[in-house]
Every structure is written in C-alpha cells, then in structure tokens.
C-alpha cells in the first residue's frame, strides 16, 4: 500500500515536470536568476564594457597604460604558471575563460582585456617570436593558454602572408626549363574539323539519313501499320489473321 502510494507520488512528480526537467515549483521568469535572499554568494557582477581598442588593437601598445603596465618588457615577462609540483606540465591550460568565467591566474593575453591577437598588431606578435632564431616560443615558455596559442599561430601565419612579419624564404634556384618551346600540351592545337565547320561533334548528334536497306526492312515488317501518306498499302484495317 505504501509502495503503491510512493509510486503514485513519483508519477505525479514526473507528470508535473515541464520542459527540460524543471520542477513545477522552480519556474520563474526566464533570464533572471532566482533571488536567494539568504545565500552567502556575491551578487552577480555586471559584465565589463567592451574594450576601446577592439577595432584597432595596435593603438593600445603605443598608449601610456601599456607603458605603465609593461614598460619595455614583453607582455609575458614575469608571468608564473600555477601548477602542482616542481615540473610544470608540458602543455599549458586549455583556455582561460571556461563557461564564461575567468580562471584564477589567467595567462598574459587573457588577463589584459585590451590585448587582442590580431594579425595587424605586429608589435604584440613580435613579442612571441624569438628575435634570434625567428621561431615561435612554446606556450610553456610564455605561459599563454593553448587557445590563445592557437590564435597566435594563426595570426602570425596571416601576418607573414600579408608581408607584415619577416618570414624565412628558402633559396630556390633559377628554373632551367626551356621556356621558348611550346609543346602540344600548352601550345595551339588546330581545332577538330567538326568544330571549324560548325557541325555537331558526333555525327549521330544530327539527324542522319538511315541506310536504305534498313528502311526497306522496317517498311516490310510494319507494312500493315504504315500511314496512307507514306506510300504504304491502303489501310487494310484488321490484319488477315483475324
């Protein structure tokens, strides 16, 4: 009896669930988090305004703010990763912004909201390239998260593509081919006679006169069904085997 009662309650609760498993008593105004007057959590912070340097990120690197924060050193100088143990892991963290929330100790690019990885702010990209060997620093050296590192790689490749960054060009010797010769693959081939005469490509694309013996054979086969104007025999109506 109690079991039956319990089952009935469960069924009622399941029936009362609306949408994605939200209980009946939990429905409030969508979008507004439920107010918890006695909770110890801090009230949600208002989101920060967008950075003024979003359109032109290279201007930030000339500004007094940047000079005061970093001086002449690169952006990642002095950043220390937080990890357990003496040996740091071989990869840095995957991303500094997880589910909209910042992790503790974000990486050098994510901690400054005015820094944008763009192929046009060459000064920022230069800070992540070794000035002696021209290779890009590993993220364990600079401390950036893997997501920013991937964006950096893309931006550096794009900047090199557009000629804004230096790129090592391997020496390609001068081609020795004979450029005067025009073999048939690249030279002029005379067009086929069909094309010049304006005829169709295959002769059977146009109507062709059929061979007379085939015409005669077909006439003989279907002589009872030919129409009057084609010179067949007078319509005999039904065939003789009626």
């Amino acid at each position: 009896m109690a079991l039956g009662g319990g089952l009935a309650l469960l069924r009622a609760a399941a029936g009362a669930l609306r949408g994605p498993g939200r209980p009946l008593w939990g429905q409030g105004v969508p979008g507004v988090p439920p107010s918890r007057p006695c909770s110890a959590e801090a009230p949600p912070k208002p989101s920060e305004p967008p950075s003024p340097y979003k359109e032109k990120p290279w201007e930030y690197l000339e500004s007094a703010e940047y000079q005061e924060a970093y001086g002449d050193k690169p952006v990642w100088f002095g950043y220390r990763r937080h990890h357990k143990g003496a040996v740091p892991p071989r990869h840095t963290r995957k991303a500094c912004l997880r589910k909209g929330k910042r992790v503790g100790n974000p990486c050098p690019i994510c901690r400054d909201r005015h820094l944008f990885v763009d192929f046009r702010n060459v000064k920022l990209l230069d800070q992540f390239i070794c000035p002696h060997s021209g290779s890009i620093f590993h993220p364990t050296h600079t401390g950036v998260c893997m997501k920013q590192h991937k964006l950096l790689l893309k931006a550096i490749a794009q900047a090199q593509d557009h000629g804004l960054l230096w790129l090592r060009i391997p020496f390609v010797p001068v081609p020795q081919d004979d450029f005067a010769a025009r073999p048939p693959a690249v030279g002029k081939t005379p067009p086929a006679p069909q094309l010049t005469a304006g005829r169709a490509w295959y002769p059977w694309y146009d109507w062709q006169q059929p061979p007379p013996d085939a015409v005669a054979r077909l006439r003989r086969l279907y002589k009872d069904y030919l129409r009057q104007e084609e010179g067949g025999p007078a319509p005999g109506g039904a065939p003789e085997a009626q």
């Binding site: 593509d161 000629g163 090592r168 001068v174 004979d178 081939t189």
Partner: protein, 292 residues
C-alpha cells in the same frame, strides 16, 4: 655590374642556432676555401630568365553536348606520368556544359603544385603578391625577399611574376635604393628593365657616388647596344670614347638629370685628386723611412 660581395651573399640569416664551428687553416687552404666560396656565390648569383608574358591557352578539344547539364562542377584531368616535364603534361578541363578544353595557365600551375609540390611554392599564392600589400613590403626595404618569394612561387613567364618584378624595380628606382639589389641575382633584371625604359640616370648617379666607374661605363655600353640609334651611341662609336668622357657625353645627350651627373662626376674627380695627393705623400714618407 652585379658585384660579388661575399659578405652580403653569405650573410647570416635568422635560423635555428647551432654552436659555431672553428677551423684552423693554412694560407693555401684559406685561399682554396675562398675560391670555393666565390664559385658557390657565382652559382647563387645566376640571373633568372627575363621573358615575355606567356600567351593564354584556350583550345577546345571536344564538345559533347550530350553531357550538358549532367554534372554541376568542372572536372580537371591531369596526366600524372612521373617522367614527363611539367610543360609537356596534358591537363584538360571538362566543363558542366560538356566542353572539353585545355586548362589555363593558372589551373595548370595549381594542379602541378598539388600533385608535384615544389619547395617554397603554395597552391594558392600568398596575399603579399597583391599590389596593396607589396607597398608594406617595400616600406620595410625587403625587395630582395619579395623577389626571391616571387621566383619560388611563380613561373618566369607568368603575368604575376612580371608584374611583381616591374613594381619592385619601379619602387627601387623611385627611392634610389639600388644598393639593396647589388650582389643579388636580381640586379641584372633590374638593369635590363631600366635600360629598356631609358630610366638609367638614378642608377648612374648611384654608381658614380660609390666610385664604380667601370660599372657606369658598362651600363652606358649596354644602353648603346640596346638603343644604337641614339645620339650618344653614334658619338661614342665615332670618337671611340672611354671612361669618364663616355659618361660626360651620355649625360649631355641622353640623360634628364644632367646637372646631378655632372656634380657627381666633379665630386668623384676631386676625391680622386685628393687621394692621389695622399698616395704621393705616403710614397714619399715610405721612401724617406726606408732611407732613414
């Protein structure tokens, strides 16, 4: 005229650093090493070919109207036989309307790069080769780099190759940055371009400023060979001029910047005069020292 500056040809490039290697050589070994270096440098300085623009390919091989409308895309058929040179490779395109035509030069280059990739060349050329981005590269004085990239990416008779080379030469001539290409394999091409278009004044002045009189005379000789009907060529042939006289006649008759050339020649002659005085004084001092 290109000049063989070993320090510039074998200058250190940014690359992965290795510990330096030291060698102890005798005088003879050092001479042999220098000769070998000069031979290698001469190979590196071979001039790339200067060609006219290639004629576009537009040959129709077949028209199969029965295939019209069956496919929605073009099909490119490339002959992948390994042993034939790329220029003899047949590459044909079947259009959706059934026409079978030979592939254009751009399609050919793309297909050959996909199946037979070459070092330094990309299937889709870099964005630097567009005119608006070339300006950035010229501002950074990287003319030699862009020309090397162009040789790696394009064929010597393609339109892009010729356009980029002409833009580079124009920019160099505008800003008188001739020294950037000296001792590189692109100098010859630049001189050919300028002499054909009769824009040799800036280069001549630059050569006189750097005391390269032999180069200046060979430049003017080349000019006369290419434009034999000009007045300076006829005068030079009549009077068999050499050296500074040749330059003076050229400046008077053919050049637009006559004043600058005269000034440069004057400065050069003054410098020669003072240096000969110095040399005479040094000789006297040496003689005196020997006597003492």
């Amino acid at each position: 005229m290109t000049g063989l500056d070993l320090q510039k040809v074998f200058r250190p490039v940014k690359q992965e650093l290795k510990p330096p290697k030291y060698k102890l050589l005798t005088e003879a070994q050092l001479e042999e090493a220098t000769k070998k270096a000069i031979k290698e440098a001469k190979e590196k300085l071979t001039m790339p070919p200067v060609l006219d623009e290639r004629e576009p390919i537009d040959d129709v091989l077949a028209e199969d109207k029965i295939l019209d409308g069956i496919e929605t895309t073009k099909y490119i058929f490339t002959d992948l036989t390994y042993s034939i040179p790329h220029r003899e490779r047949f590459i044909v395109v079947r259009e959706p309307n059934g026409v079978l035509r030979k592939a254009t030069w751009e399609e050919r280059d793309r297909m050959i790069q996909i199946f037979f990739p070459k070092e330094g060349r990309r299937v889709i050329p870099q964005a630097v080769f567009k005119d608006e981005h070339l300006v950035t590269v010229f501002q950074q004085d990287r003319h030699e780099d862009i020309l090397n990239m162009c040789i790696a990416q394009f064929e010597p008779d393609s339109a892009d190759y010729i356009r980029i080379h002409h833009r580079t030469y124009d920019d160099i001539e505008k800003h008188a940055k001739y020294d950037l290409l000296r001792s590189t394999r692109h100098f010859g091409g630049m001189v050919w371009y300028l002499v054909n278009r009769k824009k040799t004044d800036g280069l001549l002045i630059d050569m006189i400023h750097r005391d390269l009189l032999d180069d200046a005379t060979s430049l003017i000789t080349l000019y006369h060979m290419l434009h034999p009907e000009c007045q300076s060529a006829k005068e030079a042939e009549e009077r068999k001029l050499q050296g500074v006289d040749l330059i003076k006649v050229f400046a008077k008759t053919e050049s637009q910047k006559e004043g600058y050339i005269q000034l440069a020649l004057q400065a050069y002659e003054e410098a020669m005069a003072t240096s000969t005085d110095h040399i005479e004084e040094l000789d006297l001092c040496c003689l005196l020292q020997h006597q003492l």
